[in-house]
Symmetry: D2
């Protein structure tokens, strides 16, 4: 638990306004539930690691495809937030994943997210997810819409 969290123990139960803007490096609850760890963050590149625990597995006893997609979606969202102008927020509007190889329990999923496009109304991100042995496990492309907050 980081210092911010220590000082903010009620953050999940306290009412928060819609579009509350967390800092890019402050990860949302679902990322914490899964155990994602951001390892690098800049507007041009975000990386993360996810240790494959039993709790994250599918019926083939490897990392669940949904967990792979959630890891990527969280990185794409983090990268999009790192590129926002004041008074704007972002949401994923579409995401596409191709799966190439499974990731076993005990292994780590390494994710790297880089931009394909950064426009005024949308940004598009590609995340490559590799295994400990370096093999490409999945590739995810997602579009984030840039929203102007009410009142801005």
């Amino acid at each position: 638990m980081n210092d911010h969290a220590k000082n903010d123990e009620n953050k999940y139960t306290r009412p928060r306004p819609r579009n509350f803007m967390m800092r890019p490096d402050e990860q949302p609850p679902f990322a914490e539930l899964m155990g994602m760890k951001i390892t690098h963050m800049s507007p041009d590149r975000v990386t993360a690691e996810l240790v494959v625990t039993e709790a994250l597995t599918n019926r083939n006893h490897v990392l669940h495809g949904g967990a792979v997609m959630a890891l990527a979606d969280n990185l794409g969202g983090t990268a999009a937030v790192a590129n926002l102008q004041p008074g704007t927020s972002t949401a994923t509007i579409e995401s596409k994943t191709n799966f190439f190889a499974s990731i076993a329990v005990g292994d780590t999923a390494y994710a790297e997210c880089t931009p394909l496009h950064r426009g005024r109304t949308t940004t598009v991100w590609q995340t490559r997810i590799t295994r400990g042995d370096g093999r490409l496990a999945a590739i995810v492309t997602q579009t984030q819409i840039v929203l102007t907050k009410p009142g801005s």
Copy 2:
């Protein structure tokens, strides 16, 4: 907890072979971590519900897009398993999601998965995810490959 689970308390820590085939109605660990509940299952249709808890939220304080995709992926996998012939297994090879509306904390995500295509080598599934007010929140299309197990 069902009877099978009661007799198998160590199921997540015991080594299991790759491609161990759970029954379609036995949900994998990641589905349990998230709190998905299968509400109907037949080869032609699988439905599920997911209560949106704080732990499943993104930085906009609504259901995380990754959780939406995981819910759908789990249904598509369940539906694909319900259509498998003996001696075969399945894996998701690609998945595409469009997001239309967010789902708030306390609301429930309702998911319904139906087949678009059921061939010998692939099956393709479409999952519609709606909110408590009936609005379409997301639509997911995924392809499952049918694998012949070694030794079959």
Copy 3:
């Protein structure tokens, strides 16, 4: 050839401004090259037919996948235009296709496009393409962004 076209024989060679807005029922040059025929158009539903000629085939001697996607993209664009407010235009920002069955030379591809979502900044369309025997050949989901024209 409709009356508008009769009065406008040089329409492909005359310079036209970017974002020139054709009427929804006036089809663009690429649709004419391929031989698409719009058979119904309303804001809620657009349908078209495409006769599979030799010129549209791939190396397997059936309708080229690219032609299938072009047929759908053209319908999605037409449907999006039929929903535009004055002073706006639209462009496809992403498109996803799943192919299920091939369409033979001499057969006709029947396409039907309906909305999944119509928001202020994006509209999302799904097009089902069926063969003469009624079998589903492909399904296409695409997102159209709504652009405000400069000066509007």
Copy 4:
């Protein structure tokens, strides 16, 4: 028209068996209709050029999105064929495109297709399409299934 074509003027009207296998460098009719030109072909990389003529435009008077997708699909198919073992054929089972910038009439679309995955049952290809000024116009990811021909 190349020498092969000169000796085979009836190739589009003569009946051909399903799954007739063209050489990878022999382009199918739809590619010729559009004017695609393959500029490099090896199992690891295929490139092509497409001059944007009036006939290929959409209602915004730029290269039609369907033409962009057809260009990519044709390259992915060509690349997949270049990797086939004897007695097998291939078909596109799914394709995803993100569009970033339009390509004007008179400009040339440059496409480069490289593999993301080459397995026994599927190969996955990514095609980047750039404009004359080097800007990325679109990116396409597609899955090709490897089919064993009847009798093989």
